[in-house]
Amino acid sequence: MTPEEKMLERFTREKQSRAKGGAMFNLEEESDLTHYGQSLAGLDDFDEDGLGYSDDEDDNRGAIGGDIVSHSHFGGFDEATGPEETHEDGRPKTKAEIMKEVIAKSKFHKHERQKEKEEMDDITKELDDELEDIRGLLGFTDQAAEERRPKRAPLPSQKSAANRALDRIADEEKERQKQDRESGILDKDFDDSYDKHIRELAFDRRAKPQDRLKTEEEIAQEEVEKLEKAEKARKRRMEGLSDEVDPKEQGGFKKRRKAAPAADDLDDDFAPEDDQFGLGTGMDVGEEEFKGVKPGRMPSKKRRTVKVDVDSDSEEAEGDDEEDGEEESSEGEEDEDEDEEDDDEEDDSEDDFSDLDMTMERPTKKLSTAKDEDDEDDMNDMSAAKSKKSTQSGKKAKVTADAAAAAAELPFTFPCPTSLGHFMTIIDGIDMKDVPTVVHRIRALYHPKLSPQNKEKMQVFYPVLLDYIFQISVSEIKFPTAALNTLVRHIYAMTSQLGDHATSCILGFLEAFESELQMDLASGARSGFPKGDKLCFLRVLGQIYSTSDFQHQVITPAQFLMSQYLGQCQVGSVKDIASGLMLCNLFLDYQSLSKRVVPEAINFLSSSLVYLAPKGTFSEDVNELPGSFPIQEVNIAALQMTTKGLKSVEVERLSIDMFKLKDTALEKNTYRVAAMSAAADILLKYAILYASTTAFSEMFQGPLGLLEKLSAVADFSPSLKSQLLKTQDRIQKLQGFSTDSRTPLQLQAHKPVPIASYVPKFEEGYSLDKHYDPDVERSQAHKLQVQYKKEKKGAIRELRKDAQFVAREKLRVQREKDSEYNAKIKGIMSGLEADQGEKNAEARMKKAKKMKGKRN
């Protein structure tokens, strides 16, 4: 570098450092560019350092190391190359020595490589051996292997893993084959079988990619979605729409049309609908005069007989068989790889028997001693894996200690009951609290998935179980809440399992109730109010079916029945009132989501307040009472509270067991107070339920008036009084809100209906020749007529032409004949004329001769 250049360099350096924005923020003094920690400044641009051909290295396997080449090959052997080419003692190596070294090194390398290869072979061999093991998993159709092992399909999780392994193995196999062929160690037998495998692999249908197993979050998410979907379907049903089809897709056009008729709508598409509102036909006209009751109609038990649908059953059976097969195969595999299988097995059983999964579920109780655990598992080994789920959710609970102990003594198999009597003999001697266990075992034993006949058995068992529920709800001294709580879950599961059959069964029960009620009403001997069993049954219905539906196959008739109980039964005792109150509460339960109006319930609650009130609270004249609920003529003495000692009677809760008591036993103020308090309580609940309805104030006007009077009664105990006051206060407030928020109805805010158009239809480019008959039939007939006419004309013309032709031909032939004849005649005549002429000429000549002769 010249001094000038040096100066220039310095200058530029300084400039650069200044341009960088001052040293104040420059933490690093040095700003040299580096690469791999080396300053780039010191590098010569044309040094080929680090630019070696990297791919060369792949190819130089088996070759001599680079340093050796550079030193010893062509142009090598330079004496002064490096210090390493010297002996320890410092003298330089001889060429022979160097060559020896080279040879030794290359030999060493070769040896190394061989060793590596051997190792590789070993590994490959090992892998080959292992392939046999894996192959089972891959589902090859190796006969020998098949025979050796029970059949088993790969599990979904394994399939995808196996697929990947398969690809890898196939590649490796190919590689190895090549090497083997080269090395000549090809084993003939092995090769054959191996080739076979390869071919099989090639032709085998590749396992399809499967959905991966879901994570817990996803499962939870799915659960949420399922619930949301179910809720959505429920809402749709509540609005009276079909739960599956979207309104936009189905009947959308019709709907729209109804809302806004088109301009050319002549309203001529109106057809009288027979039963627009689903009211049915009503009564026969003849019945009108003595309506109300049809005595003597026996309850039809038809529905309760078991109907077995053969077709669907056989289908079901097929499906079951398939599934069974799958189950079996998976079970056979179980013993081998226990660990892996476990999860899947769990899932399977979970799916199939999830409906049995309510065994001893008791949210209030949790016990987990080892013994119990065992019992539980033994009892239903099919759903052994449930314990996992239950611990997960934390809600699943175990059998109570005593129940489990008892269950241990219970037999594990039972015959499937065919009648209530049969069932009673089965559970004879078994404690009530173990009956659910028995039911569970029966259901597990005769699960429809296990055998096609089981479905029929279950169909028989279902009404039996219902009958049993009836029986225990009245026969036991204490209402068996615990047993029923478990049984209702079985009923729920069986209902969803049996579907339509269950519906028929339950409708049969309802029909029997109804006819019984009809007879009670007709005879007048009993009040007709349902007792504990029917109430219990109705409660079960509310639990197992979706009660919020606008129209439901079971719930709608059940509600009609309940309304009839409330509306038509004659109140005769406190028991009747309690029964009615329970019905009201059931209705409240049924309608808790859909909030539909049940006038009968409000009527009943109001009138029972009147009946129960102590004498003198309300006037005798029914028209003086507030509201518009109906008042029956009742035996008021049994119902009315007596003022004596009333003050000391505190509010108690009504018991479901009171239906078993005698009417006279209930004629106590305790029960009356309890009933009145319950009525007020339920009334308040109804008020809260209906708070948003527009006619709230009209609806609760009556009850409110009653409560006002009742809370003014001095004889009540403080607890009853405070409750009445509270109820009154709440309803009053709700009424206030309701009247404040409501506005006059505007139900007819429709779009104006366009006036039907009667403008005639004009035809563009009308032509006289065309026919515009809108009546297709007539126009076609006309067309046919025209065609016929045309054809006829044509035919006539043709015939005429033919006739003319024939005539012409005839004439021609005639003429020919004529001319021929004429020619002939002419010839003859000319012959004759010539003869005559000759004759004449002769005669003339004779004459002339004569004349000549004469003259001469």
């Binding site: 509102f277 009503g282 009108e288 949210p363 709580n485 209902t495 079916y545």
Partner: protein, 586 residues
Amino acid sequence: MAVPKRNRLEAKVDPSAKNIKDAVEQIRLLERQVAESKTHLNNIVTLIQFCEDDSSKVIHAAMHALFRVFSPMLSKGELQKPKKAAAEDKKATVTLWLRDNYVKYLNRMCAILDLPEAGLQVPALKILLDIVKLESAHLSTLSGSHHFANDIYLNVVDALLNCNNMSAPLLEEFTQKYFGFYDDLRFYFLKNAAQIIDAALGSKPRKDNKAPQSKKQKTTGQAPPAKLALILENAFAIMETLKSMPTEVKELDEFWTGNPDPNNEKKEYTGESFGFSEDEDDTVEDLTKDTSASHVKKHPLLTLFNHRRVFSDCWTALLQLPFTTVIYKKTLLIVHKRIIPHLPQPTVLMDFLTDSYNAGGAISLLALKGLFVLITEHNLDYPDFFQKLYMLFDRNLMHVKYRARFFSQVDIFLSSPLLPAQLVAAFIKRMSRLGLSSPPASIVIIIPLIYNLLKRHPTCMQLIHGKADSEKNDSYDALQDDPMKSNALQSSLWELQTLQNHVAPNVATLAKIFNEQFTKPSYNLEDFLDHTYATMFQNEITKKRKGEAAIAVDAPKGLFVAAVEMTAEEVGEQDAVVPGWESWSF
């Protein structure tokens, strides 16, 4: 002369013979003996005694035997009272004796009608009516003109009306085969029944002429209430079945006792009749006086007016009896169809119906129909009719059995488009208010009715489509009795909107018609009247099922599960509160 014979016979007959078969045999024997010769006439006494037997079989056999004994005598006139009751005349003595027994027999037969055994009542009735026929025939031939043996028939009617054991077969037998079928039997029954009831009531007979009362019924005082109730019940049971009242003269063609010749003018029967009463045809004569004076006098049985007249008399008498509620209701149910059309002067029922209408409750509802007929067809003017109708819409209206009948009439009453809107609005509002506490079957009636009214009175449309800024408070006064003052027109039908959310799906659907355009001219109310809980339930249950019933979204936790977790000690008590069921313990 008869005494020794009878003793002998009595000796022969073992009165203590328990064997009924023997008795029956014996009766046959006795009967045969009587038929063989007149020497055995005394057997009749034994036979009459058999009629008092305990065994119904014996009675049955005896009364038939006696009928067979008496019937030939009747037709031969052997039982006729001799003209001169000469004691020395042996034949007359026998006839008198026979006649006494015959009367005894008839009395016994009437008594048998009162027995609790229907198997005896029916044949007894048959025999009695056959005797009436025989006697009438005999009397007719005797007098040369038609004659009805009403004296016997009166006793039959009396027995029937006072029957303590009116059995269904007896009632059916009488009403179907005789009373409802034969014009003369019906005519005389009505006539006799009116007499008997009047007598029982102790009221003075309506007609000025001599009362054709039997000696028995000549009591002036009122009979005890129990008897009146009995008569009422029996008379009503029989009258209720009467559907075959003739409406034209030519319908009078079925006669039990032979057709009285219409051309032959009736001659006064001069011959002595026997039996209980001597004069039985005077009333019949009297009835014809006012009508058939101008034209040719017909036999009274052939004049429609006479039939109507006795019908009217009978009902008027019947209505004076102290009515029970059941019979009251039943009467009102048939009054428009079976009574009013057959009365010569329907206005006689005016007071009865007006009183019924004012009675309130179900009686009022039922009286409405009859009153309606009187108003529309017989020019009855009823003041404040609509106000009274409005007041009938009380708290129990929607729940009574007769609501369908009532509403079909309300539909007619309110059908005039000229009614003031204020009035119609009051009715609409009242109905919808009641609808809030009605069974579904009633709601189903009022909704189309309200629709029809709204359609007919467009002014009332503001009830379902008011101005948004109008007053929020309900101006309707539910306690006001006068519909014109109830201020209903300024109100709004929130009740109907609430009913659109009724628990019964069909009711809810029906209530939604008020949201739609009022394109339908009117609903035919008849289609909506005949529903009950039972029919609606049946309809639901027999409905074609689409798909499976929807199962509850959440599996039930149990039948009654407490919300709070119970500790081990509490489990035994089972006293936890079930949510939603706070007033119950399980």
